[in-house]
Amino acid sequence: MILLLFWMTVAGAAHAGESLAVPPYLNCHSVMGWEQAGALRDYAPDNLYEYKDGAAEGYLIYSFARMRGIDCKSGGTTLAIDVSDMTDADSAYGMFSANRDPKEPIAKIGMGAQVMPLSLLFAKGRYFVEITQTDGNPGANQAGTLKAFAAKIEPLLEGRATLPEALQWFPPENQVSVKLVPESVLGLRILKRGYVAQYDRGQAFVVQEESPEAASETMKKLRARWEGAAPAQMADEAFTVKAPYLEGLCVFRKGRYIGGYANLPKASEAAAKAGILLARIP
């Protein structure tokens, strides 16, 4: 309800009477030939929609806390640099994973980066960084300049530059992408938050519960969801089922982790793939 009121507000980001200090990582002069144009942008969860419209929701679900940004100008080209505090490193990487183009490679800046001709995204620590050409030649390739800015910004952001551990658990063969789903993994509310890896065929997932007992309770509810769920001999407990919208599905519990494989033609195939995933979870 509180947020409700904010969604309706019309106040701008820089409020009357407030003077906002530009953080050191936002410095147009860090790359030669660029000047800051306009004032610092500063957004909180309540007013991010003023800048991002409906896309703001996509930030909020990844624990968005604050965004600060500036525009840098050189000749007829303008770059928007926005640095979002996503509360923790997992959420920052999650935001990156949700916004990167899975068809394009990941570059090594911070935890991971995507460099495109007109935009660069990366995550480091609890920060998600977007550098985007907002004005200028749409056919230009700004990758060099974007990387130059990223190289200046990245060391000034505190926090982890290594990938979330869970990403290593997913078998790399035929993997298209891995992303953090902040709520409702596989479209099921009961699977609150977890990683989902998309493969050429099917998808693997891992959800971490608070405790083995909580995970066991979730497994019980999952089994009850589908008629025909059959027990499988795997991990602490497991079942397979042909589920509507998820096709051949295998779900297992290992301690407090719930994992599995979905969207394969046969449940038996999902079970075989789930076994490979299971072996990689410590």
Partner: protein, 389 residues
Amino acid sequence: MPNTSRRDFLSAGLMLPVAGAASNAGFLQPLESSGEKPSAGKPVKLDHRVLGKTGLKVTTLSMGCMITSDPSVITRAADLGINYFDTARGYQHGNNERMVGAALGTKRKQVVLSTKSDGDDKAKLLAHLDTSLSELKTDYIDIWYLHGKDNPDHIRDEMIEAQQIARQQGKIRFSGMSTHALPKMSSWTVDKKAFDVVLVTYNFSMDPKMDEALAAVAKTGAGIVAMKVMAGGFRNVGPSHPLYPRLHRDGAILSALKWVLNKPNVHTTIPSMTDMDQLDENMRVMAEPFAAADEKTLAAHLEQIRPLYCRMCGQCDGTCAQGLPVAAMLRILTYADGYGQFALARERFAELPAGHAAVRCGDCGECTVRCPNGVRVAERLGRAQELFA
């Protein structure tokens, strides 16, 4: 909402006829036959309305796909009979359009599909449109919105020209505009008559001026699509948030949705739907009319927040005898009280000019600020000073 009781406002909504109630189109059996035990366990009732002059017959519950967690939710919504889906070029740097296109697949031609562009000139808009068509795997968009236009100055003639060109080329069927500030946009929209559909932020907590603006735009024949109908706050406060139990009790989300659909000028709604469970819950809105219990639920929410939270209406600007930026300070306090972001609130308070930070409301005999929405300004500012100064 000066001099008007929110309860009266809600009651006024209750007395309106349930538009479209007679247009229930059919029943679909959800997942029972396919093996899943449906959470609702009942047939799904569909309700359709005609989207203004477009003539498109859309379900009153449509689907905003922005934060949908898995494409299977979109596929199932289409199977259940929801026939209007909304996305935008800018959502998740294009990934949302990719997901929607993949999820709809062969159902594309059976549904109404809309997307939006925030391009600020003709070339950018048309380039965005071509990308949208490619990502959505379709050769036409049913409704193409200019995204997030909250001031008439932000819409240039060449942007409308881009929509006309796209239409001539057969890439779009209808043009639209999305706005969070319809009262500011309505006169211009009525005069310009440039849009077939207007997508507008609209919910139970808004000023009656909003209803007047909505009526004026609807009178032009434009289709009206309501967004933010559940007002963001309901769903963006997660289970771990201290406010969660309060905001999620009593079916408040469904009540808010029903309130919007009870309004005669709204043709459909596009609430964001994350998962299967939310889809099941929201489907009920097409079967259940807005009732007294819903009114009570929403009124309780409004009463609860009225003394505490600023609507940023700006009517207090310049009325503080000490010159304090009242709305800005109330907002800062809410970072702490509403979001638990105490450090951020203190940081923002420290950024106030020294003269403002030094003021103590307790030193004034009587507060000169009169909030038309009933916020207890002196008390709230005093709390901010106590916490952060």
